[in-house]
């Protein structure tokens, strides 16, 4: 109680990188204190890569479509993993706060809901880097496929997949706020619900007409179609890129509004205090 207590206290800024950094630091502490968590982050992407890498090698000899573009399947699996890890990283970090009954303590501090979302985004990015990068690097010596050969378009694909993963994460944590940890499994299976129409491994024209309409309403389809264009034709389709950006804007905006609404409902019903294991 010695230092200067109650003087010189400007009101907290509306948006603070320091507060976002504090939550990221909390996650880094968790990772640092548990090596199995770090291994777990990289484990599944590596397993996926190995399975799809060998399958790719086999199909390259059997299928002219795969043979036309070496690495189309491996690139697809790596980009899909970015989307999958991004969403899981976002949602699981939120669940960590629920497991530890920490939401009430957090929201009594100057932390604002938008800063909380920004922190979840940063943590999700960190998790994707830790999880997907080793797999992407291993693909080079093991299967002679470098996703980095996609060049600048890779960043466009990566950015769009990450933003969509955060949008999906926002819808997921909104549901968790409303329904509690009973909806925990939703965070894991929602992505598999989207996988068939995301057209990760096959062109969108493979789908029946009516399903193509649904597929084109999702940014991931634009990304994977764009990736195939780069690999097969050597061209970057700007129309697909901007289509993905526009849809992401809509989904991310809707996700943010849904989260803010759920947060307000949680404050109305007292769920910030009750939520937890």
């Amino acid at each position: 109680m010695r230092s200067d207590p109650i003087i010189d206290r400007p009101r907290p800024s509306a948006f603070s990188l320091r507060r976002i950094g504090a939550l990221v630091l909390r996650y880094v502490y968790i990772l640092r204190g548990s090596w199995p968590r770090i291994v777990e982050l990289a484990y599944w992407p590596l397993v996926q890569l190995v399975i799809w890498g060998f399958l790719s090698n086999f199909l390259r000899e059997q299928s002219s479509w795969v043979a036309q573009a070496a690495g189309v399947l491996v690139s697809a699996v790596l980009l899909w993993d970015v989307f999958f890890r991004g969403q899981i990283g976002f949602s699981v970090s939120f669940m960590e706060e629920m497991y530890s009954r920490n939401l009430a303590s957090l929201f009594v501090t100057p932390l604002r809901p938008v800063e909380f979302v920004a922190a979840l985004i940063s943590i999700s990015l960190l998790r994707v880097m830790v999880g997907a990068l080793p797999a992407a690097l291993l693909a080079i010596p093991m299967f002679d496929v470098s996703i980095f050969d996609l060049g600048l378009p890779l960043f466009a694909f990566f950015a769009n997949l990450m933003v969509m993963s955060w949008a999906l994460g926002l819808f997921t944590i909104s549901l968790l706020l409303r329904a509690g940890l009973g909806a925990e499994n939703f965070a894991w299976f929602i992505i598999f619900l989207l996988a068939p129409v995301a057209c990760v491994y096959y062109p969108v024209t493979t789908l029946p007409d009516w399903l193509q309409w649904i597929a084109w309403s999702m940014p991931m389809v634009y990304v994977f179609e764009g990736m195939r264009h780069v690999l097969f034709e050597g061209t970057f389709r700007a129309d697909l890129f901007f289509g993905a950006c526009a849809l992401n804007l809509v989904y991310f905006g809707a996700g943010t509004l849904t989260f803010l609404w759920s947060f307000r409902v949680a404050r109305d019903k007292g769920q910030l205090l009750q939520i937890g294991e």
């Binding site: 109650i6 009101r11 320091r18 939550l23 530890s100 009594v108 501090t109």
Partner: protein
């Protein structure tokens, strides 16, 4: 507002004017919370002055924690207003959020993080300039030095309570909301925590609003008591005055009278 009321609370505040709310740490007016038709807090009003300790006393479900949650901004009132340091928390919470803090047995800190890591994260969230220095001070004040490096999950209930208190003190709160601050502590540690709170208040002039089932604690710390029952404040007064008015030996007997609807004290200061 009644300026002759004893230090601590002013029962039945009128809708707060700017001058009144600036002089008070907390001004609550006609506060009500309903959950799906069930009234948890019913038209409650009180004022906590700066430097005072006020206790919310009542049985389970009386509305103490719900009231504290609304003051913290974790729960939205159905109706009524809350002013903290003159700011309406419905519209100006950002002006005062860094000046208050709380501790509650119903809220945990992340279990896998060590005590130091937890305090570092919260120190940064409160925007402290010297987080390390503040943690060192609190470690000394609250005797945390031996387990700063220990994960929360490996602490005893009493140690967790101390860490929760350290978290609550990080930002030198001018208003401290304490929900059963000495629950699960042995008598010695409980006494030690109460002494710490008294010293903190004497040094900083902070206001304390305390919800507790521990009558001895309330008698010792609180200048005023708000007796709550089924969401309403049914009586108020300094602990001694309540005991005398009800013709009882201690606050626990007063509490039982009010909870069971027996005794002859009546609602002398009912609001």
């Amino acid at each position: 507002m009644d300026q002759t009321a004893p230090l601590g609370i002013t029962p039945d505040p009128a809708p707060a004017g700017a001058a009144d709310t600036a002089a008070a740490a907390v001004t609550v007016s006609h506060l009500t919370k309903r959950f799906d038709g069930v009234v948890a807090v019913d038209d409650v009003g009180f004022t906590v002055r700066r430097g005072a300790t006020v206790a919310l006393l009542g049985g389970n479900g009386a509305g103490k924690t719900t009231t504290l949650s609304m003051l913290l901004g974790l729960l939205l009132p159905t109706s009524g207003t809350i002013h903290i340091f003159g700011h309406d928390i419905a519209t100006e919470r950002r002006e005062i959020v860094h000046r208050i803090n709380f501790t509650s047995p119903y809220v945990d800190l992340p279990m896998r993080l060590t005590v130091r890591e937890n305090l570092t994260v919260y120190g940064r969230l409160y925007g402290l300039r010297d987080v390390k220095g503040r943690i060192a001070e609190l470690a000394e004040d609250l005797d945390l030095g031996d387990y700063l490096k220990r994960p929360i999950k490996k602490l005893s209930a009493g140690q967790k309570t101390r860490v929760g208190l350290a978290k609550a003190m990080l930002n030198w709160p001018e208003l401290l909301l304490l929900d059963e601050p000495t629950a699960s502590l042995d008598p010695d540690t409980g006494d030690w925590v109460r002494t710490y709170l008294e010293r903190y208040q004497a040094e900083t002039g902070a206001a304390i609003l305390l919800a507790s089932h521990n009558m001895a604690e309330v008698e010792r710390l609180a200048g005023e008591v708000l007796m709550m029952k089924t969401g309403r404040i049914v009586d108020t007064g300094p602990p001694r005055a309540l005991i005398e008015r009800y013709g009882r030996r201690n606050l626990e007997e007063v509490f039982l009278d009010i909870a069971r609807g027996t005794g002859s004290g009546g609602a002398g200061n009912a609001v």
